[in-house]
């Protein structure tokens, strides 16, 4: 069966510090991968979307970036965090070759920028 991992679970970082969040998927090949951000009490905002290694689609302009160095690894990064980057970051995957498949979410990383 497929499993999605995210770490760390929680993170407190000062403004201006760098960020690296990691997401890995097990039990499937060539998944579509997604990064979402959820502000407190709000909906899910799609940040990045990837259909394969090195293929990243950015949905919202911001100071964040994403990379996919391996088939089942998705990394969210920032060089300098802003207060507005605080939120709940969720990684998700869906089966490849898009054909109406649901998305499966990881446990999330709760980021607080101070």
């Amino acid at each position: 069966s497929q499993t999605i991992h995210q770490w760390p679970a929680t993170l407190v970082q000062p403004v201006g510090s760098p960020l690296s969040l990691e997401c890995t998927v097990e039990g499937t090949s060539n998944p579509n991968l997604y990064w979402y951000r959820q502000a407190a009490g709000r909906g899910l905002q799609l940040l990045f979307y990837s259909v394969g290694i090195g293929q990243i689609s950015s949905e919202v302009p911001q100071n964040l970036s994403a990379s996919r160095p391996q088939d089942r690894q998705f990394i969210l990064s920032s060089k300098k965090l802003l207060l507005s980057d605080s939120g709940f970051y969720l990684c998700a995957w869906s089966p490849p070759y898009r054909a109406l498949y649901e998305q499966y979410f990881g446990p999330g990383t709760r980021l607080t920028v101070t």
């Binding site: 579509n32 709000r42 909906g43 899910l44 905002q45 799609l46 979307y49 259909v51 689609s57 949905e59 969720l90 869906s94 898009r98 109406l100 498949y101 649901e102 998305q103 499966y104 979410f105 990881g106 446990p107 999330g108």
Partner: protein, 110 residues
Amino acid sequence: QQPVQSPQAVILREGEDAVINCSSSKALYSVHWYRQKHGEAPVFLMILLKGGEQKGHDKISASFNEKKQQSSLYLTASQLSYSGTYFCGTELSNTGKLIFGQGTTLQVKP
């Protein structure tokens, strides 16, 4: 373009029914429904693709209207475990990219 969910919040007693709506100004390719418990990740409920489609399992079902601009989620004889925030995620075309509504918070009381 973000879909609009209504109502924003619902409080029910166990055994009561609820309907959550998700509306778009444009015809959609598909609608996904997810439930999120506080502090947890969203969990998939169901997908609707065809206009006029209805589907469901247990006492949770959903419909997609003929114009494919509105979907409704029906929760029948609600249970305490139904509490959480319900999100619809919509696709304008077959891209795999979802735009989520702002969520509807459902609280079921004993």
